[in-house]
């Protein structure tokens, strides 16, 4: 297995084999990020595919200043946000509830408990869930998230604040119940 930096250099120069190796290496990471970001298996699969196609188109513009995984997450997050804006699927509460139940079922089927924490995270809207995941699960800074999602730093800050507040509230309510 070649070192990632070498693969990136080759891929940027147009080596299709190197690019396909990079995409394969990051496939699980990308899919798992998107599954958490969308909490919807079909949407996560769709956006994984679309992100890879976009990466193939844009690889020549990749400057290597960020990690390849960060670049993919950025493309993927922007696709999720664009789709959300276009389709406004997020507003269809019943549909969201349905997809949450479906991912809950799939998770339990794999032998993992559907915890209160996952339920609370699933109930956040994607526009809040994405910055929360990027900051607290993936460890990106607020400024990085702002650049990745193309939104002002103040918006990231308020979404993080509201997201954690909502998570804390839901988890406290579950504990009390």
């Amino acid at each position: 297995m070649e070192d990632e930096a070498k693969l990136i250099k080759k891929a940027v120069r147009g080596d299709m084999r190197a690019l396909s190796e990079l995409l394969r290496e990051h496939y699980s990471f990308l899919y798992q990020y998107l599954l958490k970001a969308t909490m919807n298996k079909n949407r996560a699969e769709d956006v994984t595919q679309e992100t890879m196609l976009k990466a193939i188109e844009k690889i020549a513009t990749f400057q290597g200043k960020a990690k390849f995984s960060t670049w993919l997450i950025t493309i993927a997050s922007r696709i999720v946000i664009d789709r959300m804006r276009r389709n406004e699927l997020e507003r269809h509460w019943l549909q969201e509830e349905g997809s949450l139940r479906s991912i809950q079922y799939e998770t339990i089927r794999e032998g993992v408990d559907w915890s209160d924490a996952l339920q609370a995270l699933g109930r956040l809207s994607s526009s809040i869930r994405i910055p929360v995941l990027l900051k607290y699960y993936y460890g990106y800074g607020q400024d990085e998230i702002s650049a990745m999602l193309d939104i002002p730093a103040g918006t990231v800050k308020s979404r993080l604040h509201n997201g954690l507040k909502q998570l804390r509230k839901e988890l406290t309510e579950h504990e009390e119940a």
């Binding site: 299709m16 798992q32 915890s115 924490a117 193309d150 998570l167 988890l171």
Partner: protein
């Protein structure tokens, strides 16, 4: 402020992180074989090239048409030609500055 951030991170690590890690493990996808990725990359590169050639052809056809119309207008009326040129130049400059400002705003170091 920094302390507040650290507290939030600690809260997340204690209550959420482990569950999310287990969630990730439960949903680890089956990664397709390398040749499937190679096929995808090759097919998409070919598609993109075809699309670019089509767009380039369309661009040249349109350019030839506009050039022809302009020559026809010069031949008919110089004043109208000057007016059209002034309007399109102003429109072009306006659009270019808008696109440039938007591009600068969206700039992200990959």
């Amino acid at each position: 402020m920094k302390k507040h951030d650290e507290e939030d991170q600690l809260w997340f690590n204690n209550l959420m992180k482990e569950d999310l890690t287990r969630f990730d493990a439960a949903h680890a996808p089956e990664v397709p074989e390398q040749h499937r990725f190679e096929e995808l990359v090759y097919a998409h590169v070919q598609d993109t090239k075809r699309k670019l050639w089509r767009e380039l052809l369309l661009f040249w056809l349109l350019a030839c048409f506009i050039f022809g119309v302009m020559l026809w207008i010069i031949d008919r009326n110089w004043i109208w030609f000057a007016i059209i040129q002034a309007v399109t130049t102003a429109g072009g400059i306006g659009y270019a500055s808008y696109a440039l400002a938007r591009g600068r705003h969206r700039e992200w170091k990959s």
